[in-house]
Amino acid sequence: MNSLLNVILTTDFAFSVLRVTTPILFAALGALISNRAGIINIGMEGIMLVSALAGVIISAYTQSAWVGLLGAVLAGTMVAGILAFFTLKFKTHIILGGVAINMFASGGTVFLLYLLSGDKGSSTSLASKVLPSVDIPLLKDIPVLGPILSGHHILTYFSILSVIVVYYLLNRTPIGLRIRSVGENPHAAQSVGVSVVKIQYTALLLSGFFAGLGGAYMSMGYLSLFTRDMIAGRGWIAIAAESMGRGTTVGTALTSLLFGAADALSNALQVLNIPAELIATLPYVATVVGLVIYAVSETRKKNRKLKSPLAK
């Protein structure tokens, strides 16, 4: 138990929570935007995977991490665009579309990797670039807080910034207003000349954009390479986080952080004598418990009254 505390009560651990949260947060923000527009994008996993590979390949060929990032994000946006095209134009069921995107990404990335590098497993033979980590002046010298908050990967800061940006976008901009109106009452939006399809395109592309950032982080920051199926469920976790955050920006950010913390904790728990298989379930158990507590308290609140007179 002591050794566990030794691991957890360190700035390194707190630091790792933010690091682990970053990809989940990006994707969850993406999921949030598309959900607010009324479309559930379950292709997050696949989009992240494609972006992760695109970042590696493009940075390897251009020898510029930033161009790589741009490529990754564009790739993510493009894949989301394909999904949007089929679901919005041809009315492919969005769930099937998402499943297809995940399938496509899982095979397609390996296939492309193989064509380019002759390797099916990882991109170690490509000299790809990574984006830098940054120390924040002043902050980095504050004890405890400094080592926790400073020195992160630049995309981690991007992700925190993204929370603010997405909040602003959804709640304070015309496009955000339209996205929310389309999600809540598409007929109302349509009736005032807002093109529902256009807004949903935008929202899906934005969700691809953020998932793309998440994917880029995986292969160009968190790690410096691409490997087969390296997203390893983070896209799904992000969807769960968004769902649990009940469609609000702050809620989504907090639940992403919760998932990140639980995941980091499960890594730390490996120092104990508990079978690794069981430790691995911890983040999920924690989530279910959290969700139940939240849901129970919410329904308690709701059950104790009749509909309030004006809310209809």
């Binding site: 304070r172 009452n185 007929h187 109302a188 005032v192 007179p309």
Partner: protein, 520 residues
């Protein structure tokens, strides 16, 4: 006749599910007129107007503005040409404020962001200009229907609509609110606006419209000067037969009390009274009407009677026959012989994607004659469904059609058919004829009266004063969660008088309406 401002020629509309909503319809608008569009439920009025507003694409036909053909591919195209529409169902985003709803699609900006202050200013300005007061900062979900209606009209006006389409705007308004709306419409006409007015209330049509186009089964039956045709004639053209506008009510023969409410009070979480000290009784063979402006506790009262009190702290008693139902759920209440026509047919009254026949049996599939143990009796269900469809004249391709494809009125007929055909002892009918054409409304009224003569107790909540005065044997008025008036003989009450109670200006003292309980 001067050249038409807007003309629709040879419009045919086939929905993807194969429903032919409009068939070679011609429709034309003169500048500065109020033009009524009338027709039965499902006649294709809304569809025609949606086409005019660019929200639906015609399968065939053209739209001409001042003789020039235009292609309207989205509502935006229509808005750009000065067409505005207030839809049959509200087109508002509930969680948004009034101002946000007003400017949606034409948001004022401040830098990159949305300027809420400017939106509020625009809303206030338009409201002032057209003399329609609204609170721009209020959330739409908190507004009364009358308020929502105003927001809808302002929305159209803000967008510079010169042609304003109003699809059944008065279905949910009180007489006072309707009166106000008519004043405003006339004022708009003075200012040069052209208005299309859809309504099932022919009195209104006669009162404010210049011309009328009548539709039947997707076709236009012709255009008339309103002054040239009587209500009778209009309804004959709409329905294809004479419609009786007065009912022969048998003299009431009340039996024992079926629903007894005594001293019922319910408070919300903040301790505010939602229902305060409600007393009344409904007897077998009696129709008790509840009038009131929406949002004055009728919804809560009905909810309380349909299982909503379970798990909620309340005082007083609510009895169906001899059973206290305060801790019963809706199933237990229904098992006591209670039927319920909910006001929101889309949300509670019907399952849109399910078939008409599935919708018809939802309250009786448990009964022995509909099943053989666990298995449903398919042939009996089919027989029941087709007989009900026939009896209630539901316009559909057959009982297996999804109910969601029906027009509002026909959907309502299905709901009424279900609830009235189980020989209930108590029927709670909430807005049973909202948005229903006169033919169908009359039919529904007759059904209620038939149940009444079969000794059923009926509690009728309606915003349609005409209906309530016509049908009820006794009448309650609710205001702010209380019963403020009780009339033993509604036929002696005028709409205006009723309106004063509904708006809280008049109030009877307790002993008088306390009589409800003691009345024999």
């Amino acid at each position: 006749m001067s050249k038409a401002l807007l003309e629709m020629r040879g419009i045919t509309k086939v929905y993807p599910n194969g429903v032919v909503a409009n068939k070679d319809v011609h429709f034309s608008l003169q500048e500065g007129e109020i033009h009524a569009l009338a027709g039965e439920n499902g006649a294709g009025k809304s569809t025609l107007m949606k086409i005019m507003f660019g929200m639906e694409e015609p399968s065939e036909g053209g739209i001409y503005i001042r003789g020039e053909q235009v292609k309207l591919q989205s509502a935006q195209d229509a808005i750009d040409r000065g067409i505005g529409m207030v839809h049959q169902h509200f087109m508002l985003v509930p969680s948004f404020t009034v101002a946000e709803n007003m400017v949606l699609g034409m948001e004022p900006r401040k830098g990159l962001g949305f300027s809420a202050a400017e939106a509020i200013r625009m809303t206030e300005e338009t409201a002032r200009k057209y003399n329609l007061a609204v609170n721009p900062k209020a959330k739409v979900e908190d507004l009364t229907v009358g308020m929502k209606q105003k927001v809808e009209i302002l929305k159209a006006l803000l967008r510079g609509a010169r042609i304003l389409i109003l699809d059944e705007p008065t279905a949910v308004l009180t007489p006072q609110e309707s009166e106000e709306l008519f004043r405003e419409l006339k004022q708009l006409r003075e200012q040069g606006h052209t208005i299309v007015f859809i309504s099932h209330k022919l009195k209104e049509v006669k009162a404010i419209c210049d011309r009328i186009t009548i539709m039947r089964s997707g076709r236009s039956e012709g255009v008339f000067q309103t002054s040239d045709v009587s209500e009778q004639e209009i309804s004959r053209l709409m329905v294809g037969r004479d419609v009786v506008l007065k009912y022969d009510k048998t003299t009431p023969a009340f039996s024992k009390p079926v629903l007894t409410v005594e001293g019922l009070s319910v408070h919300d979480a903040q301790g505010k009274a939602l229902l305060a000290n409600i007393d009344f009784t409904v007897r077998g063979g009696q129709i008790v009407g509840i009038a009131g402006v929406e949002g004055n506790g009728q919804t809560q009262l009905i909810e309380a009677l349909t299982g909503g009190l379970k798990g909620v702290s309340s005082s007083g008693t609510v009895k169906v026959k001899d059973t206290d139902i305060r801790s019963s759920d809706i199933l237990e209440i229904r098992n006591l012989g209670v039927s319920y026509i909910p006001e929101d047919r889309m949300r509670q009254g019907a399952a849109g994607d399910a078939s008409i026949s599935d919708n018809l049996i939802s309250t009786r599939y448990r009964s022995r004659d509909m099943n053989k143990g666990l298995f449903l009796n398919g042939s009996k269900i089919a027989a029941l469904a087709s007989s009900l469809v026939e009896e209630f004249k539901v316009r559909c391709s057959g009982p297996t059609q999804p109910i969601g494809m029906l027009s509002g009125g026909n959907m309502q007929k299905v709901v009424v058919a279900r609830e009235c055909s189980t020989s209930p002892e108590l029927l709670i009918a909430e807005q049973p004829t909202r948005g229903v054409d006169i033919g169908a409304a009359q039919f529904i009224h007759q059904k209620l009266l038939e149940l009444r003569s079969d000794d059923c107790a009926i509690l009728l909540v309606s915003a349609d004063l005409n209906e309530i005065l016509e049908i009820s044997d006794s009448l309650l008025v609710m205001y702010e969660g209380q019963i403020v008036a009780y009339f033993e003989d509604p036929s002696a009450v005028s709409e205006e008088e009723l309106g004063l109670y509904m708006l809280g200006i008049n109030k009877q003292d307790r002993p008088k309406h306390g009589r409800t309980v003691n009345h024999v």
